[in-house]
Symmetry: C2
Subunit: 143 residues, 2 copies
């Protein structure tokens, strides 16, 4: 198989299996969340004064998709919105107590997957991988 299809395959397969494993782990923990929910909650938890726009930029997803996911999360009482003092068009979203609690468990579940993923990998190998992935990502983005 050519080098091109190797790298293509590596990216697609790894991402797909990782998604499947993560989803399964989250479900085994009995958490009522799907993949995108978890990812967005992560970002909200990690970003101070997080707005929808910030999530759009960080995730690269369509803003309509983000709007809907946020609405769902709010409907599940996992996040709350507060007016943004800097811009009346937008709101600042943050995790609710329930959201924090759920994410604590989600982190455990995901940690299991990452641990499995990285089994037998040395620290510098992981760094190398993340570094190379970052460079590829930059290559695709700058355009």
């Amino acid at each position: 198989m050519s080098k091109e299809s190797d790298i293509r395959n590596a990216i697609w397969q790894l991402a797909f299996q990782f998604k499947v494993s993560s989803k399964k782990a989250i479900r085994q923990y009995g958490l009522p969340l799907n993949g995108m929910h978890v990812r967005i909650l992560h970002m909200i938890g990690a970003t101070p004064a997080c707005t929808a726009h910030r999530i759009v930029q960080a995730s690269g997803r369509d803003k309509a998709q983000i709007t809907r996911l946020l609405k769902e999360l709010e409907g599940m009482s996992l996040i709350q919105r507060a007016p943004n003092p800097d811009d009346k068009r937008s709101q600042i979203v943050s995790l609710s107590g329930k959201g924090e609690a759920l994410m604590a468990r989600a982190r455990e579940a995901e940690q299991d997957v990452v641990t499995r993923l990285l089994k037998g990998m040395k620290k510098d190998e992981i760094d190398t991988f993340v570094g190379l992935a970052g460079r590829m990502l930059d290559n695709l983005r700058e355009e």
Copy 2:
């Protein structure tokens, strides 16, 4: 940011951007294919005596999904089916002339993306990346 979210992010973002870029390239070439179509056509082209089951195994996707994609591809006259002499339940799928022609162009489009992806990367870095990704994939699969 922690090492765990680094690797998670690296995988998700890289795969997402790669998918977006590939899709855009395919569309710019004016090809009436979406991501899964291209991936399956690749496999069919590369696999001698390719059956649906083989695609299911190689792709890791649900067999119902594969059935439908194959039906669509057959509807577009990009593939053809022939009886499998080894097993009357299954059929051997192969690219039609039209399918071959389309894939020749799709390969060009994807080649552009891979070239961009790998810009500035040394050959051994690419090998390292593919190797590490393969090990991670094995970790997730063996379970």
